[in-house]
Amino acid sequence: MSVHADVPEGDVLVRLPADLLIPMDGAQWDSSGDDLVIVRHDGRASTVQRELAGALVAVYNATRKVEWARAVLPGPALGDRADVVELIRTLRPGFATHGVSVADAFVQTRVLRWSPSAGASAGDQGRYLMPVIDLINHHERGAPWGRADSELAINAAYPMGGSQCFVRYSARQDPLDLALSYGFAESSCTLARSVPVTVDVDDLGTVEVVGQRLQTKTVLDPPTVAIDDDRLRLSHVTFDTRHPNRLMGMLQLAVSAFLAKQPRTGGRGEAADLTTALIGVLVESNLDRLEEVRLELVREGVGGATGTVSRAIDQQQRLLRTFADVGGYHPSQRAHERE
């Protein structure tokens, strides 16, 4: 499905009043064969919202979404493949398949966390289905979610150059995030998050990237930093191909703090060199780890969920190489992945 328009870029494409958003927190969905069915509406849903939910279900069923989710959406599709799930978890520790029905997993790909009240905290946001807007596909440079008074507003964005409109489902997601969450391998991503990896850098020591997923409030995407006697631990590292210097600046502070705990070394100039070496070996280690998993997944076949994830890994590797080239980060002899 896709949406095409001739609205000038940047002008409002859709304004959806809050009372047309379909509340989902109390709803219950299931599948019957290859059809999605609403077992129970959210108690707050109005008659109009229930009718809109029924219309969306009709669209989902006409386009065989349950069948697609069962085969391609990694959560439900890999639920009985513990070996593959464990393999993917080496890249994304939070990847989970248990306890989620195909219906819930599919509906989760369509909901927006939102609040009619501007400035509401994340905890006060509810989950909503979005009539009409639901049909717009994702693109990294698509329109962000907007707000006009208490309405959900989407501006027209044509990042592919034609008449197809795109929206950005979620900021700062990489190809693996999108593949695991939404079931598609996306080529428009501009950043890649590091997989869990531990490396050694001469004159610095051991650095571990845990690979957590944190909701960052700033574009600098600061990791949580912990320093033990012999180890620098970073919650996450993001390789942003458009802003490679951000990672350098943020990691250099962490490396400087780590060096300050080690009297044998020091000096900001050295911190810069060591940070460059560190980023280079992190890129290389990510490429190696991703390739190991990609080869395992390709053995499973190029279709279905494993095919989607392996194509996402391919995109992830492309982004890492771009990041290294743009930023001039290449592994040096002083750094290597820890066995």
Binding site: L220, M250, Q252, L253, A257
Partner: protein
């Protein structure tokens, strides 16, 4: 925040400019702390010799702003610096 307090930066705070944004790193827990707008102005004037009251008076005069509002904003910022471990006792 006590107006007589002499504001002193913690000696081990790390500072960098990252992609045009000023960032501090706390020596307490290695948390990043972004400096924007008035926060950056206040941080630049923390010299280990100026009291909070003196800072408020200077900023209110320089920016032609109500001193009580400046006191509130600066006090809030100083509390955040304290919580982040970015200030030291004199």
């Amino acid at each position: 925040v006590n107006g007589d307090r002499i504001l002193v930066r913690h000696a081990d705070v790390l500072e960098a400019e990252v992609d045009g944004q000023r960032v501090l790193m706390s020596p307490k827990d290695y948390a990043y702390f972004g400096l924007v707008d008035t926060g950056a102005i206040v941080w630049d004037r923390i010299d280990g010799e100026t009291s909070l009251d003196e800072l408020v008076v200077a900023l209110a005069a320089e920016y032609d702003t109500d001193p009580e509002r400046v006191r509130s904003d600066v006090g809030e910022f100083v509390s955040a610096l304290d919580a982040a471990g970015l200030l030291a006792e004199r």
